[in-house]
Each structure stands twice: as structure tokens, then as C-alpha cells.
């Protein structure tokens, strides 16, 4: 029943870090991210590869290579990430099966649940990476991607 799994959580943290450290449009390596985020290296690597394939990151190989954020933080939403890693949210695993359910088209539960899904998607779209970042340098309010040290 989790919407934000670890994959997604790590993805957000990595993207947030990159958003805050894209000075000189430098690339950031997996090694750097692992040092900062303390996540398991091969797992993070896999996640970054997916984000690259889906167009959120650009990657470059070889010495001096790494990843670079392609979109601006305001253009990346939680809905994007959830969709990338799990597909469109589906809250009910309908057992459609003529023996049990006479007609999927008239199922009142389906409709009600779909309305909830729709609302959730709208809310997730509104949560952008930008909205999770700190507002100002010396502001004390916590934020998702603050890295200790």
C-alpha cells in the first residue's frame, strides 16, 4: 500500500541533491551521491539508470562522466516518479472474473476508487521537486534533501 517506496525515496533525494548542486552545470557521479546520501551503491545506480532512460537525467560515460539534471525542479513532480517506478496508481486490484463479478462496467466500487486515485494523482502532480527544496540558504526550516555535513 506504499506510494513512495524506497526506490522513489532515493530517487527524490538524489534528484534534490543534484538540483542543489548543479553549479557550473557539472555532472555528479554515483560515487558522490553514495557518499552524500548513504544509499546502497548498486541500487542507486539502477535507479539513476532508469531516471536517465526516462529523460529526467542526462548521463555521460568515461572519466569525468556522471549524471546531470535535465529538467528544472519545478518540472519534476512526485507523480512523474511514482509513474516511472510503479506505473499509474491503481488502488484496487479488481478481481474481474465473470464468476464473481457480473459486470465490470457497472461496478460502483471501481468508480469510487477511481475518483480517489484521480485526486491523489492531482495532488502528486502538485508536489514538485522544487516544493521540497529549502527556500533560502540560511532558512532553518527542514527540507527533504538536506544533507548532513
Amino acid at each position: 500500500m506504499r506510494l513512495i517506496t524506497r526506490e522513489i525515496d532515493y530517487a527524490i533525494r538524489a534528484l534534490s541533491f543534484m538540483a542543489q548542486n548543479n553549479h557550473n552545470s557539472n555532472v555528479i557521479t554515483v560515487s558522490e551521491l553514495v557518499r552524500k546520501l548513504k544509499t546502497p551503491r548498486p541500487f542507486l545506480r539502477k535507479i539513476l539508470q532508469i531516471l536517465n532512460k526516462k529523460g529526467l537525467l542526462h548521463s555521460s560515460k568515461g572519466t569525468g562522466g556522471g549524471f546531470r539534471l535535465v529538467r528544472s525542479p519545478g518540472e519534476i513532480s512526485l507523480n512523474d516518479l511514482v509513474t516511472i517506478f510503479h506505473g499509474r496508481p491503481k488502488f484496487n486490484k479488481c478481481v474481474f472474473n465473470k464468476k464473481i463479478c457480473p459486470d465490470i462496467r457497472t461496478c460502483p466500487l471501481k468508480k469510487k476508487i477511481e475518483n480517489i486515485e484521480q485526486y491523489v494523482m492531482t495532488e502528486l502532480k502538485a508536489i514538485t521537486l522544487a516544493s521540497l527544496l529549502p527556500k533560502a540558504k540560511n532558512e532553518k526550516r527542514g527540507h527533504y534533501a538536506r544533507i548532513s555535513q
Copy 2:
């Protein structure tokens, strides 16, 4: 990412059937339910035992025994069922871990996700068993628990 898993789906169907067939306050047996709902018998049995323990059903043993709905269909909500089988909905599996996340109390993601959870719970409370049942005998609109034959 499923809110309504099979367990819950079967539970709703069983409760709906019982709500529509409580004439003479007769009990309904697992055998009857399995015949009507075509669900796996031992699995349904387990589900009914849970609903009994949680107070939605009353059970009686021995010959002529079975289950009986305790609450009225208007007093049973999807939120009750989700809570019984999965606990309070939690959409993010926060990796709180001082290495990664400096302070759980100020996490902006947590707050935003909790707001969504709160909304979903409110909506689930509004979906009662009664709201899934057919409105009138010869109404054609589909409903969740109509049993074929």
C-alpha cells in the same frame, strides 16, 4: 500500492451478500458463501474469522452455525476494512535514518503525503457497505455484490 487487495475485495463481497440475505436473521455458512462468491474456501474462512474477531460478524459453531452481520451496512466503511486488514494507510515508507535524513520532524514530504492520506481516509469512510448495495430490487444499475444466479 494497492489499497483494496483481494482479502478486502472478498470481505466486501461476503459482507454485501450477507447484508442482502439476512432474512430471518439467519446465519450464513462459509459453504454458502463459497458457492455464491466462488472464492477459495480456506482463504474466505480466514477472512471471516478476522471479521468476526474485529466485531463486524458474529459467529456460531456447530450444526446450523455460521456467520451473521452485526452492524448495519451503513455503519461499515471501506476505511474500516482497510484498517482491519492493513492498518492505517501509510503511503510513504520513510527511510528515517540519521545518516540520510537529518530530521524527521521537519520533513516536508512527510507532511504533504500525510495530507493526502488524510483525505483518502475521509473518502474511504464515506464509502459504506450500504453505498455499494443496489438501491432497489428491480433497478438495473450494477452493484458490487450482485451475485450471478
